[in-house]
């Protein structure tokens, strides 16, 4: 069974206070690698069998209308086997 993955991220110019909070917590735990952190969302959508082009087109549409808000976010659609 394949999964369709939709990842949603805030656009770079949109303030991400959650990511900033994570970035400032990391050094407190001794992790010093992070220059910055941005936090996003990941949707895992199961479909029966391999996703068809029609299904992917539908997912694109859903990603644009519901899963993301194009005013502040971008998304990518991937397939995971």
């Amino acid at each position: 069974m394949a999964k369709i993955i939709v990842e949603v991220m805030l656009k770079p110019e949109i303030l991400d206070p959650q990511g900033q909070a994570v970035a400032s917590a990391l050094p407190r735990l001794g992790f010093t690698f992070a220059k910055s952190v941005r936090q996003g969302k990941r949707f895992e959508i199961e479909v029966a069998g391999d996703p068809t082009p029609a299904q992917l087109a539908e997912v694109e549409k859903a990603a644009e209308t519901l899963l993301s808000n194009p005013v502040i976010e971008t998304y990518v659609v991937k397939i995971e086997k």
Binding site: E13, L15, P17, Q18, L66, L67, N69, V71, I72
Partner: protein, 225 residues
């Protein structure tokens, strides 16, 4: 006959009762509307109240936008029907694209609950005609995701067209661009406001009675139609 103003209840709405009370105090007739119906019950204006519609899952207002009642409201709003979205209602209006921009997490990540001073910047919308230009008012602000964000182009448009209806004064509660607390659409019939006028209508329970003017404004505008 008094004017009928609808109050929409979504699953998770909290302030629909207070908004109904504000409508009645202003002299209107409050008409409860339900998210799952597309029937506007012959109301002449609508208030989308505050709360946490659909648990604020996904994004605030994102799921409420697709409720049957919203289809009717979006269609009516395009024809000049007055709509006021308060807090979560503002978020729903942005998600519905009736208003530009989006509301995101407060810059300090805290849920805020405070009496907030605002400056009224536009007294020409259906909901703000009762204020004086530049009038300062004090009404409660309570939200976790009240930071108004948009791109530079949208911000310039809102500012140049005078569509910022209210700004935060003396204190930046959430990192909103240009301290924006509320905006309107081009026509001035749709207004979104992050703070809560419906909680400032009686001196017993509110920090002022300034909030009542939003509701009396729209009633006066309806009379004048």
């Amino acid at each position: 006959m008094s004017f009928r103003i609808g109050l929409v209840t979504f699953p998770g709405s909290l302030d629909d009762r207070d908004a109904a009370r504000a409508v009645e105090m202003a002299g209107g007739t409050a008409v409860p509307l339900f998210h799952a119906s597309d029937d506007l019950k012959e109301v002449q204006a609508v208030v989308l109240p505050g709360g946490f519609s659909y648990g604020d899952y996904l994004r605030c207002g994102a799921i409420a936008r697709f409720a049957p009642i919203m289809n009717s409201i979006v269609t009516a709003a395009d024809h000049g029907f007055p709509v006021l979205g308060i807090c979560n209602g503002f978020q729903v209006l942005c998600e519905s694209h009736l208003l530009p921009g989006a509301l995101t997490r407060n810059s300090n990540l805290h849920f805020l609950c405070r009496d907030q001073k605002l400056k009224i910047e536009n007294t020409k919308t259906m909901w703000t005609t009762g204020f004086k230009q530049g009038q300062e008012i004090l009404i409660p602000l309570k939200n976790g995701e009240g930071s108004f964000q948009c791109d530079d182009e949208t911000l310039n448009m809102l500012e140049s067209e005078g569509r910022v209806i209210a700004r935060y004064v003396d204190f930046d509660p959430n990192g909103s661009r240009n301290l924006i607390a509320g905006i309107s659409n081009e026509r001035g019939n749709v207004v979104g406001l992050m703070p809560h006028p419906e909680h400032a209508i009686e001196s017993l329970t509110g920090p002022s009675t300034d909030g009542l003017t939003f509701f009396t404004s729209v009633l006066h505008q309806l009379v004048g139609r």
